[in-house]
């Protein structure tokens, strides 16, 4: 009985620790005054109204969205075959490759950003292609953030899959491609959706690496927020954060609805 109470208390404290900062950000977004102070002098929606009028935020959002969608799509199309090879293949260095693909998750974003920056500079000098600060370069960097998620999550779904189900399909007359399309793909779909979601969120929220890869006039949402914070600390930032939370929350709910995980697992 005491144990259960203690467990609940611990769970409550942990939950509060996670949710409290978010709660304050949301609260702050509705403060009327420009300099955040307690208690609030009143409540207002004006900071939310200001966001759509701010080009930096709107363009930042659109760029982040564009980059995250592209990076997720590319990450998935690379991650799925990679995961299949890593799970099904028998080759020397399989473990090493698996770990290498997770590396971008472990290397600090700043380090990754500098490394890519230097790489882009050197590549541009060597080839003359305008890579530095280009959209392609930015997306390529973000693909790197998405890949660990796609590989990890799809590997997990493949490992949990009964191999004989694929053999059954082949026995019934399905060639390899049909087997993949009709049997393997539906089985790993929940893993792919989760991978897409995590890859998207990781890319959308990335700041440190993007700082090195954006070009003039090309600013992602997290960078726009950072730049705004250098000059002002009014609740606009809180309002932008709330909108971002709503956006990602909606994306999560939507994917959860589209993929009826219960039918597959």
């Amino acid at each position: 009985m005491v144990g259960r109470t203690a467990l609940r208390a611990a769970a409550g404290v942990s939950l509060a620790y996670i949710l409290l900062p978010m709660f304050f950000v949301i609260w702050l977004a509705f403060f009327a005054q420009e300099i955040p102070s307690f208690p609030p002098e009143g409540y207002s929606l004006k900071w939310f109204r200001a966001v759509p009028g701010n080009d930096r935020f709107v363009n930042g959002f659109l760029l982040s969205l564009q980059v995250a969608v592209a990076a997720t799509a590319i990450g998935l199309s690379l991650g799925v075959p990679a995961a299949i090879c890593l799970v099904r293949g028998r080759f020397i260095g399989r473990e090493t490759v698996t770990n290498l693909l997770l590396l971008p998750l472990i290397v600090p974003g700043i380090v990754l950003g500098i490394a890519l920056y230097v790489f882009h500079v050197e590549t541009e000098i060597a080839t003359g292609l305008p890579i530095l600060g280009s959209l392609i370069g930015l997306i390529a960097g973000h693909v790197l953030i998405a890949i660990p998620w796609t590989v990890r999550l799809i590997t997990a779904s493949l490992v949990g899959m009964d191999r004989s189900v694929e053999e059954a399909a082949q026995n019934l007359g399905a060639d390899r491609l049909t087997t993949f399309r009709r049997i393997t793909l539906p089985a790993i779909l929940p893993g792919m959706v989760a991978a897409a979601l995590f890859g998207f969120i990781a890319s959308f929220g990335n700041l440190e690496m993007s700082l090195f890869l954006v070009g003039p006039g090309r600013t992602t949402l997290p960078i726009a927020i950072l730049q705004y914070l250098e000059w002002k600390i009014d609740p606009t930032i809180a309002a932008v954060s709330v909108l971002q939370m709503l956006f990602i929350g909606a994306a999560m709910l939507l994917t959860d609805r589209f993929v009826n995980i219960g039918r597959v697992v």
Partner: protein
């Protein structure tokens, strides 16, 4: 004409031969069972027929075709997996339809075939369920229907009953066998369960260590085992080690002189079936072999009783007797006489 023919099939993994020079002819409509302990190569042999394992050497023919190098999806063999391997995201009828779909059958023609397959396995009422909503026995029948619906040239069963509980297994055995007869399906089944093999097969193949040990009917294997392994694996045998000491004369390590029908010389093993040995009381007519011994252990099995009888310091045999009310059972330590005819013991050189 043999419908399915394996010639000199060998599958090596490095130095290890999973299947070693296996040749088999399976006739049209025959129910053949590959029987053996785990790791004997029976499942690998089945997977070679299904096309999931490519043999290192040898040929597989199905009807007029050499299918040795054909991929699984071009073989037209129906396989029922040990785990059933139903498609979890498809309903029962979608599962069954899959093979027909792959054969590009129009939807309108598919419907009656699916209905018929469902009726054959008595699952008409569950057509729209998902596999996870079915019991193990029902899933097994879906797997069977799925493998039958496209009229395969050969039906392959990989330990199909091992995941069912004992009671259900008995029923499904009969069901599968009747269905197989009714459809005249050439069938190869793999099992390690000798009772299952004996009750279902037209012909059995006993395998161990990748090799065929004996091919034959139930009687062949039981009455005339070709080697010690078969005598041990099919039915029960007590083995007595010794040597052949001239035609029809076996001398055990413990010094028993046993009359038998074998010839030859050299060290050998004598196999005795427990139910072929008899308990003899004083007034019985003379018998080829008769030895006194002490009962050391008794297993009471209900309709039968196993007596473990010490014949010499080095030899102990099991005698299975019928449990009849008019015959009092011996007790542990009691001196008894046991006997058997010379045709009972089988001698294998060792």
């Amino acid at each position: 004409m043999a419908l399915l023919q394996l010639t000199g099939i060998t599958k090596s993994y490095g130095d290890f031969k999973a299947v070693d020079d296996v040749s088999l002819d399976i006739a049209d409509g025959e129910f053949l069972v590959l029987l053996g302990p785990s790791g004997c190569g029976k499942t690998t042999t089945l997977r070679i027929v299904a096309g999931f394992v490519e043999p290192s050497s040898g040929h597989v023919r199905l009807g007029e075709r050499d299918i040795t190098t054909l991929p699984p999806w071009m073989r037209n063999a129906g396989l029922v997996f040990q785990s059933y391997a139903l498609f979890p995201h498809m309903t029962v009828s979608e599962n069954i339809a899959f093979g027909l779909e792959m054969r590009k059958m129009p939807k309108a023609q598919m419907a009656p075939k699916i209905a018929e397959a469902l009726r054959l396995v008595r699952l008409d009422h569950l057509a729209d369920r998902l596999p996870r909503q079915l019991s193990g026995g029902q899933q097994q029948r879906v797997a069977l229907a799925r493998a039958l619906v496209f009229r395969p040239d050969v039906l392959l069963l990989d330990e199909p009953l091992s995941n069912l509980d004992a009671k259900l297994r008995q029923d499904v055995r009969v069901e599968i066998r009747e269905l197989q007869r009714q459809l005249g399906l050439t069938t190869v089944m793999v099992t390690h369960d000798q009772e299952e093999a004996l009750t279902m097969a037209d012909r059995l193949v006993v395998m161990s260590e990748g090799r065929i040990r004996q091919i034959g009917s139930q009687q062949d294997l039981y009455e005339r085992p070709a080697e010690k392994f078969v005598a041990d694996f099919v039915g029960r045998s007590t083995f007595i080690d010794g040597r052949m000491d001239g035609p029809g004369r076996f001398v055990s390590a413990g010094g028993l002189v046993v009359a038998c029908e074998a010839s030859g010389t050299g060290s050998a093993s004598l196999a005795l079936r427990p139910e072929r040995l008899a308990l003899i009381n004083g007034a019985a007519p003379p018998i080829d072999n008769r030895f006194p011994g002490a009962v050391e252990f008794i297993s009471y099995l209900g309709s039968q009783v196993d007596l473990h009888v010490r014949l010499s310091p080095k030899e102990r045999v099991i005698v299975q007797i019928q449990n009849r009310p008019e015959q009092p059972l011996p007790v542990i330590g009691e001196q008894v006489h046991i006997g058997w005819s010379k045709s009972t013991g089988r001698v294998f050189p060792s």
